[in-house]
């Protein structure tokens, strides 16, 4: 037992070191001094209060999408449609706000309605993917991907069409909302305490749901062995469908918060890759919700910090992605190698 723990740790550290080694080589190939580049990422993430705030702003939606995919992964599903679900959340929230922008309602109520609309939008989009899978036999990966593209098109259509700014529509999005309808932020920053609190609550909720409830346990049973779960009396397809709905609701919530807390308008590409990133975080933490917060924070820091690379070294900020992807890839490969190693010994 003891020895195995060391072996496991060895493979994990090995994966990490190898990932760093490869990214270092990539940096060299791109003509950047590796050590300085890493340091500038670090300072870009934590160098100033402003930077830390920027990390927190990224952390919040990432936590939400991670929370969502933890649910679908638990049910044995690959919800690649997160991006689209988030986008639909943003669209619904924007729609709701536009509807009541000039109504004589208290702003707080409109904000709450907006958030609820976001949740609804995400859930509907996820339900579509779920229904395609359950009733149409369309693999959730392809259904989800297709719906992602459709969601993007829908945003662009709205931004350039019915919801375009007075004058001409542009990629910079719809007309910003009245300031009264913004999620309140910390003075002098763009950080909304509300969004932070909600995200942390949601990931805590998912942790509890998967760890401590009958629902979570049954969901896991469906994901790991749906035949046995069925024989034990779990209504299997209903649980899969519900997992989709819940995941979509979280994604929609993230989309709604992007609109109301950060951009205050609908933008093309509002999901910003958070859905895919959430999948990566979930894979890296081996689907253990407990680790979601710190690892999502690390990923958020990488994303924020690598913006510096772009400014200083004229490198593309996709470097953060490269590092994250390679890390997950090597951890997966390391896990395979570990199992082989243990089997051989």
């Amino acid at each position: 037992m003891k020895k195995n723990t060391w072996v496991n740790l060895g493979f994990q550290v090995g994966a990490l070191v190898l990932a760093l080694l490869i990214t270092t080589l990539i940096l060299v190939a791109a003509g950047a001094p590796p050590l300085k580049a890493y340091l500038s990422i670090l300072s870009g993430a934590f160098g100033s209060t402003r930077n830390v705030v920027a990390v927190l702003i990224t952390w919040s939606p990432l936590l939400l999408t991670t929370a969502g995919v933890l649910i679908t992964f638990a049910a044995g599903l690959w919800n690649i449609g997160m991006e689209g679900q988030m986008t639909l959340g943003a669209i619904f929230a924007t729609g709701m706000l536009r509807l009541f922008e000039h109504a004589a309602l208290p702003p707080a109520l409109i904000i709450i309605l907006g958030i609820l609309a976001g949740i609804l939008g995400g859930a509907i989009w996820a339900a579509l993917a779920g229904a395609l899978k359950t009733f149409g036999g369309v693999n959730e990966i392809f259904g989800g991907l297709g719906l992602n593209f459709v969601a993007t098109a829908l945003t662009i259509y709205l931004v350039f069409g019915p919801w375009k700014r007075p004058g001409v529509g542009s990629m910079s999005g719809t007309q910003p909302f009245d300031q009264a309808l913004w999620l309140p932020t910390l003075p002098g920053t763009e950080l909304s305490i509300w969004s932070l609190v909600i995200s942390v609550l949601v990931i805590a909720l998912v942790y509890l749901l998967l760890r401590g409830t009958h629902f979570g346990l049954r969901l896991k049973a469906v994901g790991k062995n749906s035949k046995a779960a069925f024989l034990m009396g779990v209504p299997t397809w209903q649980y899969s469908m519900f997992a989709f709905l819940l995941c979509g609701a979280f994604a929609g919530l993230a989309g709604g918060i992007q609109v109301m807390g950060i951009y205050h308008r609908l933008l093309p590409n509002i999901s910003n890759g958070y859905g895919f990133l959430g999948l990566l975080v979930a894979m890296l933490i081996n689907y253990q919700a407990l680790w979601a917060a710190p690892i999502a924070f690390l990923f958020a820091a990488l994303n924020t910090g690598s913006v510096q690379l772009q400014i200083i070294y004229k490198l593309d900020s996709s470097f953060a992605g490269v590092l994250q992807d390679l890390l997950v890839l090597l951890v997966l490969l390391g896990e395979g190698a570990r199992q082989r190693f243990i089997k051989k010994n």
């Binding site: 990539i26 190939a29 791109a30 003509g31 690959w78 690649i80 395609l132 009733f135 149409g136 036999g137 369309v138 693999n139 990966i141 392809f142 259904g143 991907l145 297709g146 719906l147 593209f149 459709v150 993007t152 098109a153 662009i156 259509y157 350039f160 069409g161 529509g169 093309p268 895919f276 999948l279 990566l280 894979m283 004229k314 490198l315 593309d316 996709s318 470097f319 992605g321 490269v322 992807d325 390679l326 997950v328 890839l329 997966l332 490969l333 896990e335 395979g336 190698a337 199992q339 082989r340």
Partner: protein, 332 residues
């Protein structure tokens, strides 16, 4: 529209379909052996960037194509190694690779971003080009487009009309049965995954050195093509001819979107460009729906003649994957 404009437009469709075709044919071969290469979207982007960079640096277009194939083969090797040797989930590894290669392409592509570089020159085939209609349509293209026609038929011939191709089908269908007939299943799976990856890798340079020469990063208009190719593979029922039909249909619809653009100014370009995606979902639905339980229940309740007709239709649309797609094989 004048006939000649139409012909030139359609010839453009044939050329524009080449990258999708390579990706689809490569994936079809890989999946025939029972392995899913889900990294396609990343592979194509990285190969496009890599191929253009090499051609730009060396001034040699053929080297650019070679680089694309090599990149495709290497990514495929990682998939094969992780799924066959390390027994990891093909979906997980493929998905991460799809993201990794994409990010890598954007990161490493900065030096050649928006640079003008070499491209594959057009080359009309003598004699054939003078055939009315057909000449303009098919034979006033460039070499890679001709290769794309060829690869459809080569792949089709190989899979359905050669002995090793028969074994390939067997390996994806029922590896244990192929094994008792003397095949080294896992070695063949490695080989076909790598070959399929190399062919899919051609899709990159086919774009960045021919269809739309150059590397424009996120503005290349290439992102997403790999995912489309994956669904066209399903639509194509793992048959190169039907898959080619899907690829051409896709390119045609995109072209149609551009043409309609001028007629419908109210709709932004991007919207028409994604028109194929809902269509893709719809086709996947049609291809798969006959397997759903409620469909058979509904069919059973219908009057005999309607039922017969509907079942016939569904069966024609239906495409069943190689039975062991994604399932690892161990001989003991």
């Amino acid at each position: 529209m004048e006939l000649n404009t139409l012909l030139v437009g359609l010839a453009g469709v044939l050329a524009a379909a080449a990258p999708v075709l390579f990706a689809v044919i490569g994936e079809t071969i890989t999946e025939r052996a029972g392995i899913i290469n889900l990294s396609l979207n990343g592979t194509v982007l990285l190969a496009a960037m890599g191929g253009f960079t090499i051609a730009y640096k060396t001034g040699s277009v053929p080297l650019g194509f070679l680089a694309g194939m090599l990149i495709g083969a290497i990514v495929a090797l990682v998939i094969a190694f992780s799924s066959i040797t390390l027994k990891q989930s093909q979906v997980a590894v493929g998905f991460v690779l799809a993201l990794a290669c994409r990010d890598l392409a954007y990161f490493l592509g900065v030096p050649v971003l928006n640079q003008s570089g070499p491209r594959l020159p057009g080359w009309s085939i003598p004699v054939l080009k003078d055939i009315p209609v057909i000449g303009t349509l098919f034979f006033k293209q460039d070499l890679i487009t001709y290769l794309s026609y060829l690869i459809i038929f080569l792949a089709w011939l190989w899979i359905f009309h050669t002995r090793p191709g028969l074994m390939l089908r067997g390996i994806g269908e029922r590896p244990a049965a192929a094994f008792v007939r003397g095949a080294n299943v896992n070695r063949m799976r490695y080989i076909y995954t790598i070959i399929g990856g190399a062919i899919a890798g051609l899709a990159g340079p086919a774009y960045s050195l021919s269809v739309k020469a150059g590397w424009m990063g996120t503005q290349s208009g290439l992102d997403g093509i790999g995912w489309i190719a994956l669904s066209i593979t399903i639509f194509g029922g793992w048959n190169p001819l039907r898959a080619a039909f899907g690829a051409y249909l896709f390119a045609f619809l995109q072209w149609l979107g551009l043409v309609l653009q001028s007629k419908l100014p109210g709709i932004p370009t991007q919207v028409l460009q994604v028109a194929p995606f809902p269509l893709m979902i719809l086709t996947l639905l049609l291809v798969n729906i006959s397997d759903a339980e409620w469909v058979s229940r509904m069919l059973a309740a219908m009057p005999e003649r309607t039922r017969r007709a509907l079942m016939k239709l569904l069966r024609a649309l239906r495409a069943s994957p190689p039975a062991s797609l994604g399932v690892p094989f161990e001989s003991e």
